[in-house]
Amino acid sequence: MLNERYLPVIATLLVFILLYGYGMVEYKGFRDTLVFTNLLTDNAFLIVTAVGMSFVIISGGIDLSVGSMIAFVGVLLAYLITGLGIHPVYAAIIALCTATFFGMIMGVIIAYFEIQPFIVTLAGLFLFRGLAYMINLNSVPIDHELLVTLSEIYVPLPGRGGLTFIAMAMLALLAIGVVVAKRTRFGLNVYAVGGDVQSAALMGVPVKSTLVRIYALSGLYSGAAGVIFAIYTGSAYPLAAVGVELDAIAAVVIGGTLLTGGVGFVFGAFLGALIQGIIQTLIIFDGSLNSWWTKVAIGALLLMFILMQKAIVHFTRRYSGKNPEPPEQPALEKVEST
């Protein structure tokens, strides 16, 4: 039996197939596997960011800082490798640890100071971009043979296509994300916190530490996206990835994850990012449409998916006796002393 919670993901997959099919009919070059592997490579950093974002959104939060984090990690990497002469592998580890640490700090502020994630990560958005400016203002090449080697790794496929290192790294991170979400206690706790935070607390889920770990994980994934972006371009630029947070959120939502939390699939974010990528590719293949169509098309898609999810939620709520907003346990009333 088909579980109704797979519906949004299946719908996303169908839209993807339809768009791809349209491209195959309309444009000759589209039939090569190259187009598909390009999608994987070109959207790798976005997909990785969206995977981290999935955890945040499934938990009912939001992370606006990811785009700045990508830029910051890139600039930091460049500084460590070319500025300090640290081997890229160690530099990447340092950069990833830094990103995770910053994510964790935001998580601590969100969990323990009880400030809305929107505002905290907004401050993060400004802060990380600012830190990137502090390290370096220019776009600088990251000169190291390892990066060149990595970007040259290529598993050719029939039809001009090929899996690049970046695509493979992305697929690995995606797989890890899927496994963490579905096969670890932490992952299930994320779903529980997003599904109903009060119940989760009563069931014994350590809500606060889970929140901290979620934002640390998002920091780690956007950091990894930053490393991937650095390999992808072989350079670092403090203005890179402006607005990627919105793309990532859109990818997650198009992939069938509810922004209210609790419902969604990490794999959906992958499909959501691919759909955005394929719309862009179609527009480039057409070559006469202006780029704003990308924005309008993505907006329309977002609307469509949100309305569809609304319908599904409405449908399932009918069978649930649980109030959409369960009232809190009435607190003990104070008795007047005078």
Partner: protein
């Protein structure tokens, strides 16, 4: 029944149209053009010029607007390669990070022409660069200013977007010249993000910070849009632009000529937007097997108010 009948009758037409679709690219040369975006007036005139040039030559130009994002440009170039275009025009948003995608284009034997700025990559990876030299532009501006003020001038500078190559190089070029003049100093320098609003806001703060602007001898703006914003700020501060404060900028968009004609700006250096012709010529030459220079310089001249009215009429 009826439906299937209709379908069968349509089938030959479908096949035929598909065949046409498949073969259509062979009729004309197809080039791809990855543009940075449409963030300034100059950028738009460049886009329009290249589109018009392509149309005049009967080239099927695939245009892609990257909205100031490098990743979008890389995607566009890759899509062009997948599409099998005959040549690619690339206006890179930043200088670094192109090696990989250029190598892919080279493997696919598609010539890439860089438009209006260079990249930090092995020159063998691209056919040529059709661009002016930002550093030279900065230097030219500084030289004019030095001559105009006899080497004595307190300058305020409106930088482009922090980190952009145009901003960095124009500043470098400008600085390299004025460093030879001990009495020329940049007293204030801030980023106006290449936008009119940014230019206006930053200029306002300069004027405030420098005692209402009486200390300022000249304004050097990294593009015309910021200068146009700054001119408004100067006017609103009850100063006469071009007289109380010299206004010098780069790009030569129509509106700055209007301002010069109105006596509100002193000089602009043309950043030539008509790069399509040389770029297409270079690709054609390459196809004929000719050697092409690695840098086709397209530096524009410095324009002064005397020709402004005529230029404005010609360009609008």
């Amino acid at each position: 029944m009826k439906l299937s009948k209709t379908f069968t009758s349509m089938l030959p037409a479908l096949v035929a149209s598909t065949a046409v679709l498949l073969s259509s690219p062979t009729f004309a040369e197809t080039y791809g053009f990855s543009q940075i975006g449409s963030e300034s007036g100059w950028r738009t005139s460049e886009t329009n010029s290249i589109k018009a040039e392509a149309e005049a030559r009967g080239i099927d130009l695939k245009f892609s607007d990257a909205q100031q994002r490098q990743e979008n440009q890389i995607k566009a170039v890759r899509s062009f390669i997948a599409q099998g275009v005959d040549g690619i025009l690339l206006a890179p948003v930043v200088e670094t990070g192109w090696d990989q995608v250029l190598r892919e284009a080279q493997r696919a034997e598609i010539p890439v022409v860089l438009i209006d700025r260079g990249v930090d990559a092995d020159p063998s990876l691209y056919l040529t660069k059709v661009a002016s030299d930002f550093t030279e532009e900065g230097a030219l501006a500084a030289s004019w200013l030095a001559a105009e003020t006899n080497g004595v001038c307190d300058i305020v500078e409106l930088q482009g977007t922090v980190g952009s190559s145009a901003a960095i190089d124009r500043k470098t070029g400008f600085d390299s010249v004025i460093s030879n003049f001990p009495n020329m100093n940049i007293i204030r320098s801030q980023s106006g993000d290449f936008t009119r609003a940014g230019g206006k806001e930053v200029m306002e703060s300069f004027l405030k910070a420098e005692g209402g602007g009486s200390n300022i001898c000249a304004l050097f703006a990294h593009n015309d849009d910021m200068a146009l914003g700054a001119i408004q700020a100067i006017k609103e501060a009850q100063l006469q632009p071009a007289e109380d404060i010299l206004v010098l900028s780069i790009d030569a968009v129509p509106d700055i000529f209007r301002a010069m004609a109105d006596g509100e700006a002193n000089a602009t250096i043309e950043l030539n937007p008509h790069l399509g012709g040389p770029a297409f010529d270079a690709i054609a030459a390459h196809e004929r097997g000719e050697e092409v220079d690695k840098w086709i310089k397209a530096n524009g001249p410095l324009y002064l108010p005397d020709t402004a009215e005529a230029e404005y009429q010609a360009r609008r």
